[in-house]
Symmetry: C2
């Protein structure tokens, strides 16, 4: 085997466009809290992050896939190179960038953090999950734990000295979290004895850090059934000595790991707590039965993280395929396809390949814009909290609304776009010689974990649409409407904006229909249509943000440097393509939903599958 | 590792419905040529084939995936058990069933052959490719070769004594077959010296048969450029002695095999012919430069074969997921979802799972009906040839028209349905503990090989629609129209039939639009819309055939045995679901095509991918 090589590519120009041209990061950088950050520094971070992932994490992606993880002497061994990469990530400050200064971090603006995370994840999804989940777990302890817990656990996790996990799922409690049967019994010293088996625990053990800190959902003896009786516990693999160093084993055992379709470098563990009755945990914070609310803090971060995984792999697949299609020569140009002597052209010249690439581009860049919009709302919600509660509330409402969209659309997009990438490359795309088949395999889990996409759709339709008396949803529709009103007569984009207007109406109408169904006692129809509605709303959001990009791009085009013109024209055509090819399907979906077909409910169960 | 177990399931009831209730195989069995076949025998063959694949090929599917193929001492080694399975397939007559009596076969009716092939392929796609391609290559030799070649090669291949391949693709000639640079030079004895490198050759070598017979496209020195200058040669790995036994090596070398996303049990080979100038081949038949026409005979069989692969894996994924969803308990019924003490139900009771399963069912069973329709046309085209040329021509025309649909829709469906199967199973679907993730990986190649789905779409739009002056297409539209006219007022299905009517009009209108574009010099728009059109026409065909099933089922329902009622009701709801959820998208696609967006042509190439 030759030396591992990097096969990952990122699109820094698009980051710069998003940060400085579409979403105006300058306004964020002007905030007092970012006085140490400037535009040049942002650009430097992007360049440095890209250099880092090409040198460190990117070359390990295929290696990790091939080698996978294994259990040796009761401990998980990660693939060759992962341990060194983990060390490099933390030494070079790539996780500190997202940690707050009181935990030794740099507290970079969220939109910049997103770009860095996209590169870490896109270059090596399986690897990036370990520090990603560690960071998310640390954030929960920092936010909900006592100051001592923050010091004892979170600060070490932010620095990568210790790893972290979230432990929800059990063999009979997946989507139905409330069925969890793990138990906790309070000890005289205030700690809890934990017992139970958790499954599907990413990074449930590994050899990259000296300790692993599990956040475990369990039911304190005598607590209520269902989600309301759950509490969250900090359960380290090694107990912590008085001086803060890791000490004796804590009866946390990983008996097995899963063999999977993808993300093979990420250890998916079964974790047994307290098989020998000597597993000790601490309650997060000081109040019992707050587990679900605390876990949701992590879950919201994790859901945005999954959307980002989707974006990252979709983007990696698209850029990889584009490079291949510009290099690979096959067949003559369509102009002289009947002449066997005609010169061969790169396949990017063929209409179908262009169609595939433009579709990938629009979906990837639209999803990135959705993620960036979400980051902006997060940033402003945080900044304005306690200063302008009305505005902060608006931004927080949009965070709530857009999170299930980013998670679900991003995850579906990654699988779809990586499959299109394979298709555009022909037989080569199916081979392990190229990275796209791995992207496709890795991506399939995104639509399942951290709440399946159906759970996201129910969250959107059953909770988020009516949150704040429907104000969040109305504000979203108004934002889209304002764009439509402003640009309806746009000389170039007017036709595309008209498609957006129809899509927005279809979304609004379908949301009304759900309310009507609920009022008419037809609530059982809602789950049948929820996924479709989530897609409709996501597509509308992408269409809107892509058109916004196109408006900006067309303004900049006349004065653009010659080597930048293609970039701006690309924005225009991606938006136009999406508006004409995808947005009309939003109204079509609304009509399908309006037909109220409920065959799936009426069909006898015995008719599903074979006898 | 425990003993390999079968994880494959087939739906024999659906075969019986198709053969005896929808497509009336009795009329075919009544033909003189099938005087040895009766209904009971057909049923027995189905039962026996199912028993065989569960015992022999099914248990090797995961084994083959895990172990893959390798090269040892210059020869391809197939996974453990494949050699014995190959022997069993031929000893039990599972390939003889499709061979004509003059080659020692049983010449079963095509619709029955299809069912048997679906089970062979569904139980182990990678394995089934070896005998499948061998059979297809033998058919070309039998049809186009001299009687001596039939005896010398085809008869041994039909019996599985020797394997067979088709060798088209070269490093710089994939979709552009005419660019092939393999060469042939006529020798004094009438044989040809072959030189060239072929890639992506499935079964290019293996250890299951004593010889492998390659059908190689090559250009005789001095022949024209492009496809018209190609000839087809029989090139065995071992030369054949005068007594018909395999003799000395024929300078055919497999230097490497590919490492792939799926179908790992199928050896995808690079094959070098004549590196040492001692590779000898025979021209197929006696006339040079007929290579493309001869190869297309095999290619048409192979394209139908790929459609069947798609059907087989989609079906296997659906049935596997259905079983899981009926067993796996998770969460309470929707009726009391707020009660944490409510009993847990099987996930098949949840609305979203039912929606996913019904979608899988409709797409799988609709594709099977499309395949069966195609088999019927093949059967009647063959039977009526020379007896009633008008009718034979109609049937042959439908074969031509439906072949790209079956290949493309079947292949796309397999990937989509196996992804849905994974989704319905949640995290479990992503694990190698269950077969669906392998189905998904295996299926991805179907949309690429034997002519990518875009090549199929161009074949449909550029050739098949206008074949016979458009008569084939008009006959297809008339067949659908006749069904609509007959059932428009159907008490239960009328609304669904109305959706079919709209879809049929959308297909007809879009076909007209293509003619208009060609007439107006806008031919460059056609490839942008071709894939969408193929999907529209496929969906319309599925909708039609599913509704036909529903009509039959509703007629049978009142007098059905109690254990058969769910089956018939399933047919009704699958048809209704497809008509209400999928068919409206046909008209939506027509509207999208009508918008004539050509962003993909206009976008600058430099805007695709990153700088």
């Amino acid at each position: 085997m030759s030396q591992p090589i990097n096969r990952y590519k990122a699109d820094l120009r698009d980051y710069q466009f998003l940060l400085f041209e579409q979403f105006k990061i300058d306004e964020i950088l002007a905030l007092d809290v970012y006085k140490d950050w400037g535009a040049e520094q942002v650009k430097m971070v992007l360049d440095e992050a890209y250099r880092f992932v090409r040198e460190v994490t990117g070359p390990l992606n295929a290696v990790g896939d091939k080698e996978g993880c294994r259990i040796e002497n009761g401990r998980v061994k990660t693939p060759k190179g992962f341990k060194e990469a983990w060390k490099a990530v933390y030494e070079n400050g790539w996780k500190a960038i997202g940690a707050s200064p009181e935990h030794g971090g740099q507290g970079a603006p969220m939109p910049l953090q997103m770009c860095v995370e996209e590169m870490l994840t896109g270059s090596n999804t399986a690897f990036a999950m370990y520090p990603g989940l560690t960071h998310a777990a640390a954030e929960v302890i920092a936010a909900c734990g006592t100051p001592e817990q923050g010091q004892k656990f979170a600060s070490k996790m932010f620095k990568g000295e210790w790893g972290g996990t979230m432990c929800l799922t059990e063999p009979h409690a997946g989507s139905d979290v409330g069925a969890a049967s793990s138990s906790a019994k309070k000890n005289a010293d205030g700690t809890y004895s934990i017992r139970g088996t958790k499954i599907f625990i990413s990074g449930g053990d590994h050899d990259m850090a000296e300790n692993v800190v599990h956040l475990v959902l369990a039911r304190i003896e005598g607590a209520k059934a269902g989600t309301k009786g759950l509490s969250l516990f900090i359960v380290p693999r090694l107990r912590v000595n008085a001086d803060g160093s890791p000490g004796q084993e804590n009866d946390v055992v990983v008996p097995s790991i899963e063999h999977k379709m993808g993300i093979n470098g990420s250890a998916t563990c079964v974790v047994n707590f307290g098989d020998n009755d000597s597993c000790v945990g601490e309650l997060v914070g000081t109040v019992e039965h707050q587990g679900m609310a605390q876990m949701f803090l992590m879950m919201n971060t994790a859901r945005i993280g999954v959307g980002l995984q989707g974006l990252a792999l979709g983007a990696a697949a698209y850029l990889s395929a584009a490079d291949y299609c510009k290099e690979r020569k096959q067949g003559p140009s369509a102009k002289n396809f009947k002449d066997p002597e005609a010169p061969k052209v790169a396949i990017v010249e063929h209409a179908d390949i262009r169609r595939l690439l433009l579709e990938m581009k629009a979906k990837v860049e639209g999803t990135r814009a959705l993620g960036m919009k979400l980051m902006g709302h997060l940033e402003w919600a945080r900044t304005l909290a306690g200063k302008d509660d009305a505005k902060a509330g608006y931004h927080q409402g949009q965070v709530e609304l857009l999170t299930p969209l980013f998670k679900s659309y991003g995850s579906d997009m990654a699988f779809e776009v990586s499959a299109l990438a394979i298709q555009s490359m022909g037989g080569a795309g199916f081979l392990k010689d190229h990275p796209v088949e791995q992207y496709c395999r890795d991506a399939k889990i995104f639509s399942i974990y951290e709440g399946t996409n159906h759970i996201q759709a129910l969250d959107l339709v059953g909770r988020k649409l009516s949150q704040n008396g429907g104000a969040n949803a109305r504000a979203f529709l108004a934002d889209v409407q304002a764009f439509v009103t402003k640009h309806r007569e746009h000389a170039v984009l007017g036709g595309a904006v008209a498609q957006l207007a129809k899509a927005q109406e279809a979304v609004a109408g379908t949301a009304m229909r759900f309310m009507m169904w609920n009022a008419q006692g037809k609530a059982e129809k809602v789950p049948l249509a929820a996924n479709q509605f989530l897609t409709m709303m996501s597509e509308t959001t992408l269409g809107w943000l892509l058109l916004e990009q196109a408006v900006v791009a067309l303004e900049k085009l006349p004065s653009a440097a010659s080597n930048d013109k293609a970039f701006y024209e690309g924005k225009r055509y991606a938006a136009q393509f999406f508006a004409q090819m995808v947005l009309p399907r939003v109204a079509a979906s609304a009509a399908v939903i309006a037909a109220e077909d409920q065959s799936a409910l009426d069909v006898p169960t015995d008719a599903l599958g074979a006898v």
